[in-house]
Subunit: 431 residues, 2 copies
């Protein structure tokens, strides 16, 4: 019993602290929602300067060195230590990111639509911030600055809970941001870093549906499932990306080869990398050997159905389960399909509604694919790797949603807002 | 143990049936998403004709008579029996509702935004259906037809689970709808009524996050909390409406009286009825006696703070808790505030972010109120009762969301869709 009490006490302290932070965020959110764009931009630029200043860089380096030393002592894998490490270049990148967000248009106050009712009522839908957003992420300290910038620019207060291995770095980044922000007139409480190794903090956070409007988990599937299963607050989920490139019978093979290689091999560890290549049966005898050889030249291991394996050498046989896999690696499935419809049926069955591309010179086939495939990004003659907030022109990206509610696909500043109805009357009543 | 097994068997049957229905809805949704507008409209008009035909009316009357007889035998309260009853006029209204939805513009396929990237990529955000929607509602059979029409028009498959007292009526409506819909080319599975008195059906439904994209509960707070607490699927919640009218110091008192009386007394049982009247201290000595007397003439009982009670006779003293109450009745709170800021602070503290109105001739005060109050509908010189999908011009309403994710305020056809990114390229790759 004593042990139980002893371990419960600090946890209760953490829980109370998280509740107080969420309440402070709610208070700050009200003032933040009315903050002029110029004040928010000045705050972001001041924060960039502060991170990039000699004192800022020194503070970050010192905190980060402690995190890195602890991580190494704990035997953390080398790639995780690498992601945790704040080099001078990464600090400069964080500062540049803050300046980029300052340069983006402010979504708050935008009139999305406006109309007049026969009664004379003027109705408008106007963008407003969501309120309070919690970001839960892994041990990548740069997310602290990036996510804070996007949330605040869209008028939201933000609670940042990063992986505990990065907690000293996150706290240091948070301190610099808050100093710069409050100096520029952004209310205290707008940005708060939860820097603890106690998992009770995250558990408590996910129950606070009165004070938090949205939770965005950023990281691997394990983290996302942990958050989605526990949260009483709406969650924008980002599950796996099982993305397809369909090479149609009317494809230009130069275009197809360039897109397929880029989609698979340019950065295979990302969610918008191609996992499965579909080739129309009419073009497969010519296309498949060429595409397979180009992929193999990039070190890609191929798994195929019987027809694909018979058309090109060195293709292993894929299992049914392989077609639902997100490899995130230099591995790809290949299947031969008899028609555009068969390609779309394959995508509907095995895909994850993330991103799919058709390569074809047949405009009609392209339009059918773009219309009928219900994934968050559908492309014609372009690489799946372009399904990204920055590449598509959203300016920056807070994540990619694979569920359809609120946002579907890459999420930028607009997706961190909602709309209210603003109604101007001259005494109108309900009849 | 035997009893347990005996009761579990039929429940397992119900659960399996619900799973099969959700799976069929998912299959139908894919085909439904590509259905031309003309086919959907023809189906809605055919369904209207069928409900309004002699055979249709007879089938509905017979099923409804059984429901009503059972409800009376079970001792259901008179207002609930009334809501359950399908009169000839109500059947005609359902048919008219289907025709109205047929006449609304189809949101599916609409290009919401379109831009060009420096690389030549053409990017568009295009509306697509959400997929499969479950509507959970009380014993109001008319919701069956209304909700089915809106969901199908927006290209979604729908599972309809109404209150068990109305299950025979709902099944009869569903049968007529499905006959008309499938006859017009809408896939079977697009509209399915779950007509059972077994609560296991709803419990099972709320776990099916693979096959259902959205749950919309329609009814009282108890039903909404039941759904929100159990659902693994995103829920569009509609909690209470604690709506305010703020009579500013620059209000025209004729306008104020008309709006306050309409907002409170035109239909007090609705979520957009006024629950609290706020009056600026400078105008209160003149305004409050007049407004109080006009409200009392409509039978409204008033509860006020000390200042309000001192300015007009017959105002009871309100408790702190009263100001957070949704009365849904001929009762209202009254408070005197010293400024526009105090009015907005009161609304932020006690309101439910539903609907608030300012009455004033001061354009600057009005614009501040419209900008800074973060409720789903904010009005100037108009009754809170106008916060409604039909009144605001959405054409029809599937509900009113008081949470900010996905939709905030009255929800029409657009809110039953999401957007995908459609990208047209000429071989663009990720650099």
């Amino acid at each position: 019993m004593t042990t139980k009490t002893a371990t419960r006490e600090p946890r209760d302290g953490v829980r109370a602290e998280v509740r107080a932070m969420a309440r402070a965020a709610r208070e700050a959110a009200r003032r933040l929602s009315a903050l002029p764009t110029a004040v928010k931009n000045a705050a972001l630029l001041a924060a960039a300067d502060r991170l990039a200043s000699a004192a800022g860089r020194q503070a970050l380096a010192a905190a980060n060195a402690e995190d890195v030393a602890a991580a190494k002592a704990a035997g953390l894998a080398a790639p995780m230590v690498d992601r945790l490490t704040l080099t001078e270049a990464r600090i400069a990148q964080m500062a540049a990111g803050l300046r980029e967000v300052a340069a983006l248009p402010d979504p708050v106050g935008e009139t999305v639509k406006r109309w007049r009712r026969p009664t004379g009522l003027e109705v408008a839908r106007v963008r407003i911030p969501l309120g309070v957003i919690a970001i839960i992420y892994e041990a990548r300290p740069n997310v602290t600055a990036d996510a804070a910038a996007l949330c605040v620019k869209a008028g939201n207060a933000v609670l940042l809970k990063g992986g505990s291995e990065a907690r000293r770095s996150n706290a240091a980044i948070g301190k610099l941001l808050v100093e710069a922000f409050t100096g520029a007139g952004v209310p205290a409480g707008a940005v708060q870093v939860i820097a603890t190794a106690d998992r009770a903090a995250t558990e408590e956070l996910l129950t606070l549906d009165e004070d938090i409007d949205l939770v965005i988990p950023r990281g691997g599937e394990g983290l996302i499932r942990f958050v989605a299963e526990r949260s009483r607050i709406p969650v924008l989920k980002h599950y796996k990306g099982v993305c397809h490139v369909y090479v149609d019978r009317a494809a230009n093979l130069d275009t197809a080869e360039a897109i397929v290689v880029n989609a698979k091999a340019q950065r295979p560890s990302t969610c918008n990398a191609m996992e499965t290549l579909l080739v129309h049966a009419e073009i497969a005898p010519k296309a498949l050997p060429r595409l397979a050889s180009a992929l193999r030249a990039k070190g890609v291991r191929l798994k195929g159905d019987a027809r694909a394996a018979s058309l090109a050498p060195g293709i292993e046989r894929a299992t049914e389960a392989d077609f639902g896999q997100e490899y995130l690696d230099l591995v790809a499935n290949v299947a031969v399909v008899d028609s555009l419809d068969a390609a779309m049926a394959h995508i509907a069955r095995y895909g994850s509604s993330h991103t799919e591309s058709i390569v074809t010179e047949d405009a009609e086939a392209a339009e059918r694919f773009l219309r009928e495939v219900q994934s968050s990004t559908v492309l014609h003659n372009a690489s799946t790797r372009l399904a990204d907030g920055f590449e598509l022109g959203l300016g920056a990206e807070i994540g990619i949603s694979t569920s359809k509610l609120h946002a579907f696909g890459p999420m930028g500043l607009e997706e961190l807002t909602t709309t209210k109805f603003v109604v101007r009357g001259q005494g109108q009543l309900r009849a």
